[in-house]
Subunit: 687 residues, 2 copies
Amino acid sequence: MPDFTDKLRPSQPDGPTTLARERAQSSISIDELGNHLLSSDGFLQRQARILSILQREPLLSKDKQQNLSRPERFKLGLARAKLLRRLVDRYQWSYDDYKMAEYLVSDVSPYFLHLEMFITTVREQASEAQRAHWMPLIESWRIIGAYAQTELGHGSNVRGLELEARWDPQTQEFILHSPTLTASKWWNGSLGRIANHAIVVAQLLLPKPGSSDQYVSHGPHPFIVQVRDMKTHQPLEGVVVGDIGPKYGYITMDNAYMLFNKFRIPHSAMLSRYSNVDPETGIYTKPAQPAVVYGSLTYVRAQIVHHARLVLARAVTVAVRYTAVRRQFKDRDSDGSGPEMSVLDYPTVQIRILPLLATTFALHYTGLAMRTVYENARQDVERGEFHSLAHMHSMSSGLKSLCTMLAADGIETCRRALGGHGFGGGSGLIELNNDYLSKPTVEGDNWMITQQVASYLIKKMTTAVQAPHTAGSDELDSRFKEFIRNGVSNSRTAYRVLEKDEDIAKGFELRATALAYDAYQQRVLKKRSWNSLLIQLHKLSKAQSKSILVREFFTALSTDNTLSSSIKTIMWHIYRLFALHTMENEGYEFFRCGAVSQSDIDILPGRIQDLMAKIRPHAVKLVDSWMIPDYLLDSALGRYDGRVYEDLYNRAHRLNPLNEITFNPNYWEHEIVKGSGDDGSGILSKL
Amino acid sequence: MPDFTDKLRPSQPDGPTTLARERAQSSISIDELGNHLLSSDGFLQRQARILSILQREPLLSKDKQQNLSRPERFKLGLARAKLLRRLVDRYQWSYDDYKMAEYLVSDVSPYFLHLEMFITTVREQASEAQRAHWMPLIESWRIIGAYAQTELGHGSNVRGLELEARWDPQTQEFILHSPTLTASKWWNGSLGRIANHAIVVAQLLLPKPGSSDQYVSHGPHPFIVQVRDMKTHQPLEGVVVGDIGPKYGYITMDNAYMLFNKFRIPHSAMLSRYSNVDPETGIYTKPAQPAVVYGSLTYVRAQIVHHARLVLARAVTVAVRYTAVRRQFKDRDSDGSGPEMSVLDYPTVQIRILPLLATTFALHYTGLAMRTVYENARQDVERGEFHSLAHMHSMSSGLKSLCTMLAADGIETCRRALGGHGFGGGSGLIELNNDYLSKPTVEGDNWMITQQVASYLIKKMTTAVQAPHTAGSDELDSRFKEFIRNGVSNSRTAYRVLEKDEDIAKGFELRATALAYDAYQQRVLKKRSWNSLLIQLHKLSKAQSKSILVREFFTALSTDNTLSSSIKTIMWHIYRLFALHTMENEGYEFFRCGAVSQSDIDILPGRIQDLMAKIRPHAVKLVDSWMIPDYLLDSALGRYDGRVYEDLYNRAHRLNPLNEITFNPNYWEHEIVKGSGDDGSGILSKL
């Protein structure tokens, strides 16, 4: 309905004017930097091609989705997920095309687990015969599968799972049974309402030889199990399965609970590429190389590390563009004649956003490095060499923990820097934050898995201490041996972190090495209990992972010979900002181990402010280079064109279903919706 | 529907067993500590009395509310708010009774602004005649009002508001007009769908004497304006008003946008206790004492500071109880025979939760002190003395910033410490977090308002420097003068923070004083620009506010003579944990100013771990003492009785509407709900 507000425009200078000036003041070529970051595997071309298809589909409009209830939002998520799968057929999309579509739509797909853990587990752990039977059904989506490992009472400790798979030699079947409530499967994605099959992880119980009623547990094993009827989609007899209910995010995902009551499955259900139970003798065959099981977990962690940069880039894009457009107060020391200041010109806004902008690039280069390490290790494994697994496992664990923490906290820091509008749905950061808040916990809790890094580093230090004068077997070993040869005291010459870029990376490495040595001392020499050291080990892991971020950033810039010098200069500033800002926040640790002098630490705040001033004019173009499309951002505040206030108003005035309802504000009348005559029993019935 | 899961129980030891053991191992009397904290103003008795009434009302059941859409949830919120108001009549509740009911229901009431800013502004800024007219209508809820100040383009900078109130001498009316889109009122609570009146803050424009078309702005002034028709509840002609749409939290609040098109209001609309326009001459009378305007803002900030402890206590209650119940892994150094460990026994869980438990008490004592300072200052003002306003304003600004940051970040830290179940709706922390995330921004952005603290401290330091040898006029002045008399260098004898409890507080004060002196040097002596110092000023404000938290905690324990010695001993441990943990995280600043020696800082991590070990056995009883009822917690994880897993399962299996829907998972079929025949157009229509 037209009204007088249709003709109103924002006050001047408006968003488009401001962003045009921002872009004019920087010499950065967005195309050059964007291609440098994202074109190596055709990402940008794919993004453009898929985006144009998605934007033609009304079902993929995000305009009103934040107003839906959980059941409605789930229906929408399912309808979209089915549509995407039909688009695969229609446009003959590759797997990468499909994943791009999922990324742009930004719903967590209810088919997610079918395409990831279900298919991967069958591919990697099923026997030839099992694969021949199942893979065609899975790949054609004739069956939909999930992965049911975590239970109500056990997540991190997989060995503690309670669900039993008891071998019955008479019938040559396994009997799945949940002995307790805490044995209920829990959190298993895609299984709550959608999947009809699942990989079910259960304790394998085999009869004790010579006994008729005693069983021996052989630990958790995967079974492939049909759980719902293919016609009615109802749970099979002996299975209780459903969705666990509302969550922080993941609103379009049906995370499941599932219990079994003496539910019989055939011998062929046990995935038997690595382990097996002989159906005739009941004799168990163990996997030859247990390390292979870590493969897919490490892959998922490496993926999470690589993805973190794009997640954080979304938040930083919104924050930089909006704080450039938003103006508030005139300069307190000015004569008061000019316009109000862009809030991004306040150092207190810069200090929250620009280090995070720098973090997106740090995450990028480390993400690439992680991928390379993963691919090399995989090639090693395929050649039968397992020596690089421990390094890869440690690196992926430490980085998963650190990078998801940086990204999750970074989103929220950006959101708060937006002022009041950051709390509104037009920020585009609410669903992003809600969904991403799962990441610090899933695939290995961020605090728990740092033990794996520390354990690896203590082992490496123990080896290094034994022969410090021999040549190092790898970079870490060499660094540790050098530390020991130089004497472990802290009275060393500090690195010149304000003058030499490589010295910054060395400073981070020295801190991590010193902490690794401390941990070695406590655990190996002083025999302190593991649990009493956990806080220290967590700090060690973080320090080590941060040294990787800094070193990979340094190496990428040092070895690059493609970037133009104008961009390269700015990228070095960004490197320094990321590293020195991190260093300032943890200044005491760098001081204590002698990596940085007290006088240098005292200079850091001023240096950081200088670096921010150098980066500030390029901030908008730097986020532009991440090439996040408006459709993905779904943010009034972060729009490429800067039409912030027009968009916020449009969402409020034209796209808000609450405004279609007239309420009755009189407390003495029970009616809620004016003229409805409903005395409130309508809403009561939903409780 | 009964099924085999009805009979299942969690594995042993279950939650009730575990919590019973936890409570048996601590000598703390919950009654004693609970009364110490919460009985001074009858809080606990009131809580019990109101709770028993609320729990009889089906409309106040929280079981399924997380599944509702925004419009449904708003209807529910309104229905509940009306019910609460009817309960006021039925039970003759006092205002405190009503606020208790709101607190326990934990919806943000759509009438919130009517009862707070609307009524307060009329009471404080209306003339006698205006009050006589409006107050009876407001107090009887015959009209519902809101407070419309913030605009789409201006929040923090109130002077920059764009809405105009132009005086028309011919008709003796003001003309409200929104010249731009950014002039739209925005965020104004209770106004989007509910209120029919509002205090509207607009730039007062008066004709320039001797000119017919030029106007002079006299800055923002409040007007009381009817905006909706009392019968139809539709906006009046010339007014566009509506709800701004989905937000992070505040789902039951109708935050508004509102614009005016040459909308005429009578002369009597301008609230004229302090300023006035003579209707005949058009001559403007200024307020005598502009400081009075700060009164209500300071009151709100003081309230927020005082409330923060209960908000954080909710999150910590959930975290402590659930991490006591949750078991995961056996001790790595044990023989493996015992049960798995309570995760609260891991130092890496303790270090996240126990300092926050300590923070609830720190917030408590400072909240009480803030209230006293506020009440004393108010009495001063009523006696016509304004000297204490600046101190109160600075203290409330700094503490509002710090305390809401501690509480907001603390909720999320607790949530992540819960593992996977922290991401689920059964945590009870999702709505709490979503709502509370507004607090770092509202009533003065947490970063912006720290300037007010710094500005105050620089002024105080400037005075102190001028006469360091005279007696101090107040505590701060004395502290600053002592600092100057002792010489400002950092080569002083460090405080013995590990041995003397008061030395900890002195260490915090010295840090703040040293930073205040630095800021004074930069701003006053070196004439640095204000904006270039903002980051430093923010750090100064935080340091000052933290010193208040530590000092007030110390003073409360030192002067208390009511607590039993067993509780007092534990409270001193809690004090030390709060302060030393804060100190460790910012170790470099304490070291740099000479407040703490390097050797003491190096000992802090070990000392903190020792303190946590001493507090750990009392953790469950300490959170019990906050007396948060299960109804308010609404948390499966945080239940008093520890029946965590039974409750999580009940929510999933029996209270989840998504499980009433059977979906069609076949992607090649458009149908979403199995058997519905709907091809997806149902959900499409909601987009």
